[in-house]
Symmetry: C2
Subunit: 344 residues, 2 copies
């Protein structure tokens, strides 16, 4: 394998990519592909949009261009996107029979387009920076599969969870096995770190978060390839609105916890100590502020984290599409220039 020219990310020291969906060159490529899902499934174009932010900015990692909902799509639910709305599914899972009828995922066959994208991007990166693969968490996938899309109150998912917890557990177990197979496929195809996005774990009661979301991220952590090509494959877990639960997230055995922007990173570090690296966590909306204000915020976050290693600087959530690329540039520049001073 090629030597990594920049392995700073894998040493979990510094800064991480902001994906490129707000860039004009992204919008051009997307128009060429047709829609979002066609772009994910088009190997050369998915590779192209993964590379775009790396050409503009001095980033320490690349993140696979894909969607968190590829697994339910491969399980036959029929993912689609309507303009201006979130993801939707043509079929939903509502009963014990629906869960029992779910096929077993063979990720390298059923999601071959993702594996092709990973290996193509990895080749294209040519050892410059590591490539991060990802998946949605079982709980997050389950909410979309049950609701048929996003939700305000997750009433159908919660009806199943509270009313027939054993059926919910069967679904989550099936999804955890699918995620293991999927992420191991990505690792074998060339992903050098993997992240689990638990977008909706934060809508759960504390005990339900542990039982219905965290336990399945732990199952995944236990089933993942953790060393490949002679290197540790770091696992990052992220629960949006999970700031109350950092201590229990440590028990999953991930290498890093992603923090959303609401959590003070200094407090978080004091709570989890040196057990895990922390990834985050500037408010994406800060990118609407003037560049000088962005720079001040970067310094503030670096200073709150304090001296020492284990900080992967990133936004605390996805970037919004109408951000000025110059502001994203000012953000990354500030991280590059200021991190040495604060994280001695």
């Amino acid at each position: 394998m090629t030597e990594l020219k920049n392995d700073r990310f894998l040493r979990a020291l510094m800064r991480q990519p902001v994906a490129g969906r707000y860039l004009p060159e992204y919008r051009a490529t997307r128009a060429e592909a047709g829609d979002f899902l066609s772009l994910c499934k088009n190997t050369p174009l998915a590779c192209e949009v993964t590379m775009q932010p790396l050409r503009r900015y001095p980033l320490d990692a690349a993140i696979l261009f894909s969607d968190i909902l590829t697994i339910p799509d491969a399980l036959g639910l029929g993912l689609y996107f309507e303009t201006g709305e979130g993801p939707k599914f043509r079929n939903v899972i509502r009963s014990e029979a629906d869960v029992a009828a779910l096929p077993t995922l063979k990720a390298e066959v059923d999601l071959d387009y993702v594996m092709n994208a990973v290996s193509t991007i990895r080749r294209e990166l040519n050892g410059s920076v590591p490539l991060i693969g990802f998946s949605g968490s079982p709980w997050t996938l389950a909410t979309y599969m049950i609701e048929g899309g996003s939700s305000k109150d997750f009433r159908e998912a919660k009806k199943l969870m509270y009313g027939q917890p054993e059926v919910m557990h069967r679904l989550l177990d099936h999804l955890a096995n699918s995620v293991i197979d999927y992420l191991n496929g990505q690792i074998r195809a060339g992903a050098q770190a993997v992240q689990i996005f638990d977008t909706w774990g934060g809508v759960l009661i504390t005990w339900a978060y542990r039982e219905f979301s965290l336990a399945y991220m732990k199952k995944i952590a236990d089933g993942l390839i953790r060393e490949h090509e002679g290197r540790r494959v770091p696992l990052i877990i992220f629960t949006k609105n999970g700031g109350q639960w950092l201590e229990s997230m440590v028990d999953v055995g991930a290498d890093a916890l992603g923090l959303d922007w609401t959590t003070d990173i200094g407090t978080a570090r004091a709570r989890v100590g040196d057990q895990v690296a922390l990834q985050g966590n500037m408010d994406p909306a800060m990118l609407y502020a003037p560049p000088a204000r962005i720079r001040q915020e970067v310094a503030d976050i670096l200073s709150r984290f304090g001296n020492g290693s284990g900080h992967i600087f990133n936004l605390g959530h996805g970037i919004t599409p109408d951000v000025d690329p110059a502001h994203a540039g000012a953000f990354i520049e500030a991280v590059v220039e200021l991190s040495g001073e604060y994280h001695r």
Copy 2:
């Protein structure tokens, strides 16, 4: 003044109302009024819908039927509701000039319909249970006024907050003064406790929550009438997704903190000790579960809180409109029957 027959709520011991918007009799009264805002402004009908849940269930308090956005409406922003969508404003606040042009609220004149509703309900309650008044928090009101409605990412509010913090502070200060005037008006009209709903404080960075939301709730707490008719007028503050910040919320000087359902009430109690009472916090979606499951959850929450006083049992957020009234009944029955056993 009439003696209170049931002052259990004011002793901050037990259970609190679930408002009645899911009841068939509510839907009938609302149809009679026309729309939601007309119902708020119609004194006899607003009184009627406040009383409805009390006729069905053994509750320990009544909560004023109104909306959190009455203040911006009275400041000239033009509140309206479209079916199936959240609240909207005809005019928005985006600039320093917009903030400077806001009129000073004279709550007892400009929001006389709220004062009339409070005094009418109070008379109708005839000392049976106390009446709770409420308002939105300054930060929450500001987000709606700037965005013109609800928002996914609060980009306009955050643009102003990060880009022109002094303008945002002027707006929040104006709103805090308005809320003081409004809640004091409600207290003089007969409200025996008041609650501040900070629906959107949880989208802020920790430091920004303190500076732009919490500081103004503290200003309100300092400006409120805290004793009236020879009794303490308890203040309850609630920040949705504020579970990370309970310790700093204590410093506001409120009598109780509202907890959303994601926070473990036992952990919360350990964190804040006896400094404040806690109100909450069953997941409203639990009301979709079978009554036996609801009862089990009530027992679980009571047990997590543990022995002792200072628990006002309530849902962790608003009830959803399609809940079966029999399930709401099972919830309240379980609280009434089980609380003595757990909170000795």
